[in-house]
C-alpha cells in the first residue's frame, strides 16, 4: 500500500505477500476499531462518506495516476451505478427479490463497467487533452439527460429508495448507520485491495508504460488504446461500486451525483492527495472530507480556501500530500530526519500564523462587503469585534506581514537543512 506507483520497489516473488500484507492488515484493524473510538452518529456519517469517497478517488486514480488519462466526467460512472442500485433496491422492495443488500454494490459496479465499456470504446483512442474533452462532453451529456429522462433519473428530485426492505443479511437489517459502516468498510477493503492488485497485473503495469511512453509500448506489442480501454473499464467498475455504496448510505441519488461539480471534486481530491502513489487518493479523500465537514461549519468561504489550496498544490507540489510525505523518505533512510525538526518548526509555525492572518483579512473583507446593513460585529477565532473599526484590521495586517516575514527569513535555514539531510555525502562540514 505504501509502494510507489511510478517506481515500484521490486520484491522477490516469495517474500512479497508477507511484506506487503502488513499495511493492509493494519488498515483493516484500524477501520474495524474506528467506530469504538468515534462513537457519535455524526462521526460515523462522516466516516461513511469518507470511505465511499476513498473508493471513488482510488478508481479515479486508476485513470489519472496510473493511466495518464485526465477525466472531467468520472462522476457519471459512480452516479449511473448508484442510480441503478436505487432502482434495484426499489425492485427488491416491490417484487421481494431474494437479494441481500451487501451484494448490491456489485450491480453498481457492473453497470459502471457497462457504461465505461461503451464510452471507452471511442474515448480511449487518445490520451491527454482529447480524452479530457471527450470525458467532459460525455459527462455533461449524461448529466443533462438526467433532467430529461425522468423515468430513470427522476428529474430534479432524483430517485430514492429504502435499504431496509431487502432480505435481512444474517439478521442485520441495516437500520443503523453503524451497520452500514461495516458494510461500506467491507467493500472499501475489497475494492482497494483489488485496485491495488490490478496495478500489479500485466495490463496494470502496461498502463504505466503507456502513460509514460505510448509509442514505445506499441513497439512492445501492446496497443496503447486497448491498454487504456481496460484501465478505463476497470475504473468504471470500481466507481460503480462506490455509487452502489452511495445509494445504500444515502438512499437517494440526484443530478448532483452526475454533474461536472462532482467530477471536478474527485479530480481535486485525487490530485490533492497525490496521484503518484497508490495511497495518495486515500489521504486526499480523508483530508477533503474533513475540510468539507469541519471547515464548512467554520466559514462560508471554505470552497475558496480549498480552491486556493488546490491551485497551490498544482503549482508547487504536483506530487500532492502523498508526494510531500514521500519526499521525506530519503532523509529517514539516511537517519537524518531529525535535522529537519527545528528548521520546520521555525518556518512552519510562522507560515501557519501568517495563513491564519491572511484568512482573517479575507473573512473581514467578506464581512465588510456582504454582511447585512448595520451589522458590523463579527466573530473570528473565538473573538468578537467590530469589522468596521480600524484596530482589528491593523492587528490582522501586522500579524500576517510579520509572520510571513519571519517565515521568509527562516526559509534559507530550512533549505540548507533539507539539503544536508538528503545529500549522500557524509556530514563532514
Amino acid at each position: 500500500m505504501t509502494e510507489q506507483a511510478t517506481t515500484p520497489t521490486n520484491l522477490r516473488a516469495g517474500r512479497i505477500s508477507t511484506l506487503s500484507a502488513a499495511p493492509w492488515v493494519i488498515a483493516t484493524l484500524f477501520l474495524l476499531a474506528m467506530p469504538f473510538i468515534f462513537q457519535s452518529n455524526s462521526a460515523i456519517t462522516i466516516m461513511n462518506q469518507m470511505a465511499i469517497t476513498i473508493i471513488f478517488a482510488l478508481s479515479y486514480n486508476m485513470l489519472l495516476g496510473q493511466g495518464g488519462m485526465l477525466s472531467f466526467g468520472h462522476a457519471v460512472y459512480m452516479g449511473v451505478g448508484g442510480f441503478f442500485c436505487v432502482h434495484i433496491m426499489n425492485m427488491v422492495e416491490d417484487m421481494s427479490l431474494p437479494l441481500p443488500l451487501p451484494l448490491l454494490p456489485i450491480f453498481g459496479g457492473l453497470f459502471g463497467l457497462g457504461l465505461a465499456t461503451i464510452v471507452g470504446s471511442f474515448s480511449t483512442r487518445k490520451a491527454g487533452t482529447v480524452f479530457a474533452m471527450i470525458s467532459l462532453g460525455v459527462g455533461e451529456l449524461i448529466a443533462a439527460c438526467s433532467i430529461i429522462i425522468v423515468a430513470f433519473f427522476g428529474g430534479e428530485e432524483g430517485v430514492s429508495g429504502d435499504r431496509t426492505y431487502g432480505l435481512p443479511f444474517f439478521g442485520v437489517e441495516f437500520l443503523q448507520q453503524i451497520e452500514v459502516y461495516y458494510l461500506i468498510v467491507f467493500w472499501l477493503i475489497v475494492s482497494a485491495l483489488l485496485m491495488y492488485l490490478f496495478s500489479r497485473t500485466p495490463v496494470g503495469r502496461m498502463a504505466n508504460a503507456v502513460r509514460d511512453n505510448p509509442e514505445r509500448a506499441e513497439f512492445l506489442g501492446y496497443s496503447a488504446r486497448w491498454v487504456r480501454f481496460y484501465s478505463f473499464c476497470a475504473s468504471g467498475f470500481f466507481a460503480g461500486i462506490a455509487g452502489g455504496l452511495f445509494a445504500i448510505n444515502y438512499e437517494i441519488l440526484t443530478e448532483e451525483n452526475l454533474n461536472l461539480t462532482q467530477s471536478g471534486a474527485i479530480l481535486l481530491i485525487t490530485f490533492l492527495g497525490g496521484i503518484g502513489f497508490f495511497f495518495g487518493p486515500i489521504i486526499g479523500a480523508i483530508v477533503f472530507t474533513l475540510l468539507q465537514t469541519v471547515l464548512s461549519l467554520q466559514t462560508e468561504l471554505w470552497q475558496l480556501y480549498v480552491g486556493a489550496l488546490f491551485v497551490a498544490t498544482v503549482m508547487y507540489f504536483p506530487g500532492g500530500l502523498a508526494g510531500v510525505l514521500m519526499m521525506h523518505v530519503p532523509a529517514f533512510r539516511l537517519g537524518r530526519a531529525g535535522h529537519l525538526v527545528v528548521p520546520y518548526i521555525i518556518t512552519l509555525i510562522p507560515a501557519i500564523i501568517g495563513i491564519f492572518g491572511l484568512c482573517a483579512l479575507i473573512e473581514m473583507i467578506f464581512h465588510l462587503r456582504h454582511a447585512p446593513l448595520g451589522e458590523s460585529e463579527m466573530t473570528l477565532f473565538w473573538t468578537t469585534f467590530d469589522s468596521h473599526a480600524v484596530v482589528p484590521w491593523l492587528m490582522a495586517l501586522v500579524i500576517t506581514v510579520v509572520a510571513f516575514a519571519i517565515m521568509r527569513r527562516n526559509m534559507p535555514t530550512l533549505r540548507a537543512a533539507w539539503h544536508r539531510a538528503n545529500s549522500l555525502e557524509e556530514e563532514s562540514a
Binding site: 474533452m133 460525455v138 481535486l268 498544482v314 503549482m315
Partner: protein
C-alpha cells in the same frame, strides 16, 4: 419564413459570441498545446469588471477597459502560473487551468456574492432596430453582431497582414524554428494568452447584460465552448468559426420549434402506448425539441468523435 429569419439572427448572435470564446481558445491551444479550462472564467471576469466599471463610468468605458484588465490578468496567469506548471506536462497544465476556473468562480462569489448583478443594456441601445413580421429585433443584438464581426476582421487582419501575425502563424507550426530565428517565443505565448483572454473578456462585456452576470455563467458557457472546438477540430480557427455558428443555430432553432417527439414517433408509424405512466419509454413520448436543445451540442460532439475523430476541420487526428 419570417420566423426562420428571426431565428437565423438569434442563432448568429449566439454563434458569434461562442466564436469570440472559441477563437481565443483555439489560438492558445494551437500555439501552446494547452486547453485553457479557465477560458470561460475570463469571460465571466469581463462581465463582472464591466459591470463594476459601468457603475461609475458607464457601459462604454466598461467595454473599453474591462477587456484590457482581463487581458493583463490573463497574461499574468500565463507568466506566473502556466509557465511554471508547463515543466510538468500538458495534463498538469490542464489541471491547473481547471483549478483556476474553480478559484475564479469562488473569487467572484467572494467579491460580488452569489446573486445576479443588475448589469443592463445601455440606454442608447434600448430600442428596436427593426421588426420582421411582428418580431422585433433589439438594437443590442445588431450591436453584438457588429462588435463580434469587427473583432473577427481585426483578428484576421492581424494574423494575415502584420508581422506579429506572421510570427504567430509560424510559431503555430514551427515553434522551435521561430525561436531559433531569434524571436522571443515565451513573450509571443504570453501575448497570445493575453489577447485570447481579452477576447473572452469582450465577449463577457457584451454578453453579460443579455445572458446574465452571475457566478455560474462561466461553467454554463464553458463546456459548450470546449464542445465547439472539439467539433470544429482542435486547433483549427475555421473549424471553430463553423462549429460556433452551427451550434448557435442548432440551439436557437431547437429552442424555437416546439416539436413533440410523440408527433415524430407517430408519423413514423409507432402507436402511442395507452398507459403512458407505466411505460419505461414514457420520456421518449413526452419529450419536446426545446427540452433536448441544450444537449444537442454534446450529442453532436459524440457523433463527430465516433464518425470523424479529428473534428470537422482538424488536420491532425484528434
Amino acid at each position: 419564413m419570417d420566423l426562420i429569419l428571426v431565428n437565423l439572427i438569434d442563432g448568429l448572435v449566439t454563434g458569434l459570441l461562442l466564436f469570440m470564446l472559441s477563437a481565443g481558445l483555439t489560438l492558445i491551444f494551437s500555439m501552446m498545446g494547452v486547453l485553457n479550462f479557465a477560458h470561460a472564467s475570463f469571460y465571466m471576469l469581463g462581465a463582472y469588471f464591466a459591470f463594476q466599471i459601468s457603475l461609475f463610468f458607464g457601459f462604454w468605458m466598461g467595454l473599453l477597459i474591462a477587456p484590457l484588465i482581463v487581458g493583463v490578468l490573463g497574461a499574468g496567469v500565463e507568466r506566473y502560473g502556466l509557465r511554471r506548471v508547463h515543466q510538468y506536462g500538458h495534463v498538469p497544465e490542464l489541471i491547473f487551468t481547471f483549478g483556476l476556473a474553480l478559484l475564479i468562480e469562488e473569487l467572484v462569489q467572494f467579491l460580488w456574492g452569489k446573486n445576479q448583478m443588475p448589469y443592463d443594456i445601455p440606454e442608447v441601445l434600448q430600442f428596436t432596430a427593426f421588426a420582421i413580421a411582428g418580431n422585433s429585433i433589439p438594437a443590442y443584438k445588431i450591436f453584438m453582431i457588429f462588435v463580434s464581426v469587427g473583432i473577427f476582421i481585426a483578428l484576421l487582419y492581424i494574423l494575415t497582414r502584420t508581422r506579429v501575425g506572421m510570427i504567430i502563424q509560424a510559431a503555430l507550426s514551427y515553434p522551435r524554428t521561430v525561436e531559433a530565428l531569434g524571436h522571443n517565443v515565451p513573450l509571443v505565448f504570453m501575448g497570445v494568452f493575453g489577447v485570447g483572454t481579452a477576447l473572452a473578456g469582450v465577449a463577457g462585456v457584451i454578453a453579460g447584460p443579455v445572458l446574465g452576470t452571475f457566478p455560474g455563467m462561466a461553467f454554463l458557457l464553458g463546456s459548450i465552448v470546449f464542445v465547439t472546438i472539439v467539433i470544429g477540430g482542435l486547433g483549427s480557427l475555421w473549424g471553430a468559426l463553423v462549429a460556433s455558428l452551427l451550434i448557435g443555430w442548432i440551439t436557437t432553432f431547437a429552442a424555437a420549434y416546439n416539436i413533440a417527439f410523440a408527433d415524430i414517433l407517430m408519423a413514423i408509424g409507432f402507436t402511442m402506448p395507452e398507459d403512458l405512466d407505466d411505460s419505461a419509454l414514457r420520456d421518449l413520448w413526452t419529450l419536446t425539441l426545446p427540452q433536448i436543445g441544450p444537449i444537442l451540442p454534446y450529442l453532436l460532439m459524440v457523433l463527430i468523435l465516433v464518425l470523424r475523430p479529428q473534428g470537422l476541420f482538424g488536420k491532425r487526428d484528434a
